[in-house]
């Protein structure tokens, strides 16, 4: 029999505070997805191998399937839903969209969070740094080429203080 008693949990997610009661065996991933309905963070393996559930915990990337929810008590969590504002995509999201870095999209939120953590630390990474930063995020669709290009383009755009290229049709005239 698994424990059924619930414990209080305070979570700060994407700038909002949630007061919850959860069983001790619940992972952060389960709470984000099932209790808070933040389904942008995906489960690919539940064993920490695929990176689809990568979120920031106090600013550092973790696989949410390996974090017990109660261990995140009182801490800051950022998920993919926390990056875009109502008006504007984050430059990383914009670059992923415009450069074809998204196919099935299941790994995308994890990749974007890992890349976000990298750019916080190193605003002008080279290709090797990008590949290292996303090495824990498996992608079956893209072969990573366009993902790496998108992260580099977003870094460039953010560094230049503006977001990535204007419209897709302008890009198309190449």
């Amino acid at each position: 029999m698994k424990p059924t008693r619930k414990y209080p949990l305070t979570l700060h997610v994407n700038g909002e505070t949630y007061e919850l009661e959860v069983k001790p065996q619940r992972t952060l991933l389960e709470v984000l997805r099932n209790e808070l309905e933040l389904t942008g963070t995906n489960e690919g393996c539940a064993t920490g191998d695929c990176g689809a559930c990568t979120v920031l915990l106090d600013g550092l990337p973790v696989t949410a399937c390996l974090v017990l929810a109660l261990d995140a008590h009182g801490r800051q969590v950022t998920t993919v839903e926390g990056l875009a504002t109502a008006e504007e995509l984050h430059p990383l999201q914009r670059a992923f969209v415009e450069r074809g870095a998204i196919q099935c999209g299941y790994c995308t939120p994890g990749l974007i969070i890992s890349a976000y953590a990298l750019l916080q630390e190193n605003p002008r990474p080279d290709e090797a740094a990008v590949r290292l930063a996303i090495a824990g995020n498996l992608c079956r669709c893209t072969g990573y080429t366009k993902v790496v290009e998108a992260v580099l383009a977003a870094a460039e755009a953010m560094y230049a203080g503006r977001s990535a290229p204007a419209t897709s049709t302008q890009m198309a005239d190449m």
Binding site: L89, G100, Q103, C104, I134, T142, K146, S168, A172
Partner: protein
Amino acid sequence: MCAFSYIGKRIPKPDAVEKATGRVIYGHDLKVPRMLHAKVLRSPLPHAHILHVDTSRAERLPGVKAVITADDFPPRRFGFAKDRTPLTGDKVRRVGDEVAAVAAVDEETAEEALELIRVEYEPLPAVFDPEEALKPDAPLIHEERGSNLFRHQEYVHGNPDRALDEADVVVEDVFELGYMQPTPLETCFCLAAFDPSGRLTVWSTTQIPFLLQRDLAEALGIPGHHIRIIQTAIGGGFGRGLDMYSFEPICVWLARKAGRPVRLAFTRQEEFIAAECRQPMRIWSRAGAMKDGRLWVRDVKVLLDNGAYVSWGTVTTLVFMETVGSLYRVPHARMVSDSVYTNNPITGAVRGFGNPQSTFVVETQMDRLAEAIGMDPLEFRLRNANRPFEETPQGIKVTSCGLKECLEAVAERIGWKHRHERRPQEGPVRRGIGIAATMNVGGGARIYRSDGCGAIVKVDDFGQVTVMTGATEIGQGSDVIVAQIVAEELGIPPETILIVNNDTALTPWDVGVHASRTTFIAGNAALIAAREVKRQILETAEELLEAAAEDLELRDGFVVVRGSPERRVPFDKVVRARHFRQGGEVIVGHGWYDPPNEMVGADGKGNISAAYGFGAQAIEVEVDLETGKVKPLRVISAHDVGRAINPMYVEGQIEGGVVMGLGYALLEELQVREGRVLNPTLLDYRLLTALDAPQIESVIIETDDPEGPFGAKGVGEMGTNPTAAAVANAIYDAVGVRITQLPITPERVLRAVESRK
């Protein structure tokens, strides 16, 4: 300069923004009121009689709402060979066979209930090797068949026996190819719900919504017209969803018994055990050539392990056969294949569908033949390359063909001519370059009675264009391709078009997303529907603009009189003018496209596709002689795609295909011992990471196919096909050893290097 407004543009997929922001809804995200969670009890034994199943304790567990065993199902079978039942009642034939299932209020309760089910087994002798399975005293997997041989096929053209005597050189190898898993990031998913009138809705990760509708009807005895399949956003397919699996009728039957919606999602471990994988094959192959550089003969025997049940995967030999008989001009060819039952995991469809296997064989031996006659491997390939508009002895009617251009492009970009000049000849780390080509169906593949797809284009009173297409979007980008094709025809931006592609109640029939067929087939269907809509629009605009239809064009959302741009009328106004009048009508066009291809005959001959894609890869690798590790450094991949409707996603297919091919070549292998999967995790079954994947340069060759929509052909599988062969050829170039087993692990490289000493 491009003559098109939207064809050939790098336009993002319509679902890209919702995927980037986490707002997209995958199956795993779905919740509906009163939804239950299902778990399946699987056999721990590879072959055993079931003596008794006791579910009474599970049924009494609080929170359990339904428990089912084989007895709950009507006596019906399903699958390609009708050799399966959703739950098995008499005996289990593989580790993982579905024996009982539970629906409960949450997953934990369902799991606990499984532990309370008692199954008494009587173990039977099992067989795990297809050669052993063919021996007369082997245990029978399906007794009623009387043999473990499922399918024997022979193909021949020319006179291979004589040709093997005539050939100046003959090479011979045995190839041993392992299990590969499709491994989409989202595991299998099903949510089933009945409405009060008995109609069933299934939300699914399937790649074949209309065949799933049929398969569920057949397996369960529910009328097909009472079944509606809705595809959620799908987290990858790669062939995984081409068959109905047991879990789907199980989920439906639990929903029926419980009278509540039931959700069933695989764990990753279950995915590795129960999702169908690429066929392991043992292949004996001989190939011969003439000293003057003519490829002369191929003679191939294939032994294919079906596992415990047969899926669509058993016809991978048809695709295998095309490469043997028609990649390059080969006057004599024979292929004999046996598909065999064993007590191993079930094999099925995985991207490439037999072609990565056959291309590995054929392209390895092309290199060996070139060496044997002292010719450059590139020159040997060019000499024998297929040409446009030729019919092969197999009955394959090649239309557009850029094989020669692909080979030349990759050779030039990788520096083929000077490849031996700058590389280290000493020390533990050596470098080499290998080349391989591929031919793949690019205009559908008729393996079912219909290879068709339908499309409906409608325009509403506000000018909104909606396309309802049978095409299934599994990430590859069919939604944007269909939008661009319709946009081009109607002269409106593709971003404004709404695509409905996920509901059998709304969309017209399609056979499924497989065989790199969607751009060609669904694209043509959408084009036909768009042309009909355009005809209707022009008919009404003729009146409004007082001009003849031939003087009108659709441009940027207007109907414009050619040569007088000031005489124009906005698109939506035309639509309303047609609608809001006595005897008016709405604007809607229907398109159906079933390509001019044919089923392969019993003799293995026939034009299976209406067009063929061609491609070539050049790969540079580093081989460490001390560790045996092979590191891919650079991949150039050129593909004749007819026309790239959207180059960004053509590249995406190529790049993703290459990395999947590298996985097949170097890393990915389901370790199966006595029917058990030993590595059912993403830690132990390795996919390439961003650090392992090399730089990939895609080269798009356009040949404007006469039958393709705007000249386009399929590309989905092509990137995966030649990769293992190109890697093996590069390893030979680097260190002089031939590896004929996949994956090419460091251990296999070291053994080969040592045995050469």
